[in-house]
């Protein structure tokens, strides 16, 4: 059915950016809660709870985005025509994934440089 095909293509194309959105909201909300409710001081192995959570979330989001990109790149190889929708969707999926990956890594970087709740 046309609608389900469209929905599938849309979610697929935007999957990298949706992973980025989930990562961004996740780390922002967790940091805000940790500072507001004062549990940011908790630590494990000398590393604070906020860096732990952001680090883990970033690795998970980056890995998921890489999977999205990898699958999309594989699919683009099967298509030859540059104007063909069948190559357009995986191409855009990989491109959005690449942008999302840069944004995910870039926004997580401050945790290495900036104090958490000051």
């Amino acid at each position: 059915m046309a609608v389900s095909r469209f929905t599938h293509a849309t979610f697929r194309m935007l999957s990298g950016l949706m992973i980025w959105a989930a990562h961004f909201l996740g780390i922002y909300i967790f940091t805000a809660l940790a500072c507001a409710r004062r549990f940011a001081e908790a630590s494990w192995l000398g590393i604070g709870v906020v860096p732990w959570v952001i680090g883990t979330a970033t690795l998970a989001a980056a890995a998921a985005t890489l999977v999205v990109i990898g699958l999309a790149v594989r699919d683009t190889r099967f298509s030859t025509s540059r104007n063909n929708t069948s190559s357009f969707v995986p191409w855009m999926t990989a491109a959005f994934g690449g942008l999302a990956l840069v944004a995910i890594l870039w926004e997580a970087l401050p945790v290495l440089l900036v104090p958490t709740c000051e």
Binding site: F6, A21, A32, M92, A95, F96, L99, W106
Partner: protein, 840 residues
């Protein structure tokens, strides 16, 4: 050569029928016109009128600031003027202008006869135009808002802003929000479902991509400002303390909600302008746009990332540095997709041979100014730098470089580029060069010095300043520049008066040798026949396209149903699916628009009873307007050419009306998500006003019963849907009984929830907790009232014999929103009853 879908000669009366069907109304009825060619021009004209009005306000401000210690304007009037300048430019000019151009250009660019909901476009235009004029008129009665275009509380709440001024902003722009959302529904569904056959996503003009992103951004961004204005108005009118710190509120909640709308708003304005540039550059260079897919990446990527930038307007509010750094990082990351587009335009200019026409000059001016604005944008994305220049004239310079450079220059390029598409005469190249020169020089003379004035410490929004602070000459220079811009605009008006001759029919056409479909020969009916598209620049690549389209050799060369219609195509590959019959001119649509504007404006001045009268009048007009828009399979399938026979009516997920309701549900979901965010934000900052123990909460039985009633209501509607499908007769009483039964279940669930909160002694005025809990219930109440009206309307159509197994679009629309209301109700119960128990 491959045979075209229809052969020649065409039947004699075919073209005459097409022209008769699409002929605009005349005399007094002209006001009811719905065709995009007319509404689009009126819409653009109205937006430009507000640009002129807000521009006059800018000149008044610059005159006041020309010299130190000036007393031309009083402090209070100056506050009203700068507030109205920003508000009118953003809400009444910029968003409507890009939306208006979309309404005007998209149908022809997609080779559709019109967008799928022409009356909705007309409604959006008239509500905006009438309401906007009255809103602007508040300035003449000392009633204009004066809290700045972003209206921060507590300054704008009841204590510091008594009177109607702030209400004019909060309620007065309600109709603009409705108008913008109506336009977004029209544009998104139009782009996805009425493209020419063969125009797959990968062949869609970049402008259509930009407008698709624009529509999607309105869907997710505007609900935040709708909620924010509702909360502040509730605080002002009924003392519900969302933003009052003493009662557990927080003024920062407003800033979060406002900027969650406000930053994407910048891109809502910029991306369509970028789309225009991506259309103009290839035409002016004679080369295809370099990096089509990368530009799509740039548009969609910018749209997405722009939703994570809102806190960069709040760097001075004392948030944790790490939190601010996330937003700082995304503020820099968004330069990547923006930069991709800039490099694509530069590469295209380098690849071709640029003709230095007026549109090209405005595009070059845009590139220069917007890049400078982008660079200062990266500077203010750096938190410590932002602290230094926050609320200074540096920010005024930055935002004008981005908005004027990023939107106004492309808009003028678009005026000069697309006037031949709607006019019998092109604008003057000679005058156009003067317009460009004056505006470009004037802009830089006016706004570049403001960077320095800001770095020297001059704050925004001051109505005067003492001499000797080093700001005197800079301000005078800025004022001179502002008047030079105005001179450019005056020359443009002269050019319009001398040369612009709008026509719904024959225009001067493709004078630029452009490659996209809006340049095909057209009339009030758009193109004579709807072409098959095989490339991104069909006019360049498909020989004789214009002649064959004009001769009627492509699809749907006439009006086979005897009314207005267009082809609905599949959303990815644009394969023809059915022919949609579209409604024509209608008085109720225009009256509903006037009623909407009157409702909001009367509510603003607390004339509640007259406002309610107009509210009821508006609903009645909408009912009359809609009554004829679900025609059912009233016509047998029609031949469109090439042996393709299409049905003229379809229901279910393939139908364009189903898509429109899904878009509306996304708007509703975004509104609800903003409210849930507000709930948890207030919980985070003021846990002391939340119930300390479970015995302060309603007993768990109440929400459980309410949830069961909601599920029962949805189940009943689902049953009605199946019963309707199975029914072969007009008198399907099981469907009617189910509709009537589902309604009290929904109302009862709402009543139980309201009662359960009230009997605990909770009131909405004592704390932010009470206020937000009752707002969750009130929002649910709004949706219950809406689906109740839709349910009764569906019931009435059933009684009148207008509902059956095939003719069921009205029922489907009601069913979709009904299920959404139930899901929202269940989530509201979980937030209000479950979260305090789980989170403590």
């Amino acid at each position: 050569m491959k045979a075209l879908p229809n052969s020649l000669p065409r039947p004699e009366d075919e073209l005459a029928t097409l022209e008769r069907v699409w002929r605009p109304p005349s005399g007094w009825s002209s006001i009811t016109v719905v065709n995009n060619t007319y509404i689009g021009v009126l819409y653009v004209g109205a937006a430009f009128l507000f640009f002129l009005l807000a521009g006059v306000l800018a000149l008044m401000m610059r005159s006041q600031l020309a010299v130190p210690g000036n007393d031309l304007l009083s402090q209070d009037l100056y506050n009203q003027i700068f507030t109205m300048h920003g508000t009118v430019m953003m809400f009444l000019f910029a968003v409507p202008a890009v939306e208006a151009l979309g309404v005007l250009l998209l149908p022809n660019m997609l080779a559709a006869r019109d967008l799928p909901f022409p009356r909705l476009s007309a409604y959006a235009f008239w509500a905006y135009f009438v309401g906007g004029l009255v809103f602007f008129g508040s300035l003449f009665f000392d009633l204009a808002p004066k809290g700045g275009w972003f209206m921060y509380p507590p300054l704008t709440s009841y204590e510091y802003s008594p009177g109607y001024n702030a209400d004019f902003w909060l309620l007065g722009i309600g109709f603009i929000e409705i108008s913008a959302i109506a336009g977004a529904v029209e544009i998104v569904v139009g782009i996805l479902r009425t493209r020419a056959p063969g125009m797959s996503l990968s062949k869609m003009p970049i402008y259509c991509w930009a407008m698709l992103v624009f529509g999607a951004m309105i869907i997710f961004a505007f609900p935040a400002i709708i909620l924010a204005t509702a909360l502040l108005e509730l605080e002002r009118a009924f003392q519900w303390p969302f933003f009052i710190a003493d009662k557990g509120g927080d003024p920062l909640l407003w800033q979060h909600l406002f900027w969650f709308f406000g930053h994407p708003e910048v891109y809502i304005i910029f991306l369509p302008a970028a789309g225009m540039v991506s259309m103009i550059v290839p035409t002016m260079t004679g080369a295809r746009l370099i990096g089509y897919r990368l530009v799509v990446l740039g548009l969609v990527g910018t749209g997405f990332l722009s939703f994570a930038l809102w806190v960069h307007h709040m760097f001075a509010t004392g948030m944790p540095r790490l939190s601010m750094s996330f937003f700082s990082a995304v503020s820099m990351a968004v330069a990547i997709p923006s930069g991709i587009q800039v490099f694509a335009w530069i590469a295209t200019i380098a690849a071709g041979r640029l003709r230095f026409t007026v549109p090209a000059l405005f595009v070059l001016g845009f590139l220069f100014i917007f890049v400078l604005g982008g660079l200062t944008g990266v500077m203010v994305a750096v938190v410590p730098f932002d602290w230094q220049v926050h609320d200074s004239y540096f920010i005024v310079a930055h935002l004008h470089y981005v908005l004027f450079g990023g939107m106004v220059f492309p808009l003028f390029a678009a005026f000069y580029y697309w006037v031949p598409y709607v006019s019998k005469k092109q604008l003057s190249e000679r005058l156009g060069r003067w317009v460009f020169g004056l505006m470009f020089v004037g802009f830089n003379v006016a706004f570049f010095p403001m960077h320095i004035t800001g770095l020297l410490g001059m704050p925004r929004r001051v109505y005067t300043y003492p001499a000797g602070l080093g700001w005197d000459e800079l301000n005078l220079t800025s004022t001179i520049g502002a008047f030079v811009i105005a001179a450019g605009v005056v020359v443009f008006l002269i050019d319009l008066a001398r040369n612009f001759r709008p026509t719904g029919g024959k225009n001067i056409g493709n004078i630029w040798n452009a490659g996209t479909l809006e340049w095909l020969p057209n009339g009030t009916y758009s193109v004579r026949s709807i072409p098959i598209v095989t490339s991104r620049e069909p006019i360049w690549d498909q020989p004789n396209l214009a002649e064959d389209v004009e001769a009627g050799r492509y699809y749907l060369p006439g009006a086979p149903t005897g009314g207005r219609e267009t082809i609905v195509t599949s959303p990815i590959d644009a394969r023809p699916q059915y022919v949609v019959q579209m409604p024509g001119p209608s008085w109720p649509t225009v009256l509903a628009a006037f009623g909407t504007a009157a409702f909001f404006l009367l509510l603003t001045v607390k004339l509640v009873v007259p406002a309610l009268v107009f509210g009821v009048f508006t609903v009645a007009m909408v009912v009359v307007w809609l009554w004829t828009t679900d025609p059912g399979p009233s016509h047998p399938p029609v031949e469109i050419g090439g042996g393709i026979k299409l049905p003229v009516y379809l229901t279910g997920p393939i139908s364009h009306s189903w898509w429109a309701v899904v878009v509306l549900i996304l708007v509703a979901a975004a509104l609800f998500a903003s409210l849930v965010f507000s709930y948890f934000f207030l919980w985070m900052v003021s846990p002391e006003v939340w119930p300390a123990s479970e015995d302060k909460l309603p007993a768990p039985g109440h929400p459980l019963v309410a949830a069961l009633l909601l599920v029962a209501s949805s189940t009943t509607i689902a049953y009605a849907g199946r019963a309707l499908k199975a029914s072969r007769t007009q008198g399907h009483w099981s469907v009617r009984i189910a509709l009537l039964l589902a309604l009290p279940l929904l109302v009862a669930a709402l009543g139980i929830d309201l009662y359960s909160q009230w009997q605990t002694g909770l009131t909405p005025i004592e704390s932010s907790y009470g206020a937000v809990v009752y707002t969750v219930i009130a929002l649910q109440g709004f949706f219950v009232a809406t689906v109740a009206m839709m349910g009764l309307y569906t019931f009435a159509r059933s009684i009148c014999g207008l509902l059956n197994a095939e003719r069921r679009a009205t029922f489907d629309n009601t069913m979709l929103l009904w299920h959404y209301t139930v899901v929202q109700g269940l989530m509201g119960l979980a937030v209000v009853h479950l979260s305090p128990r789980l989170l403590g």
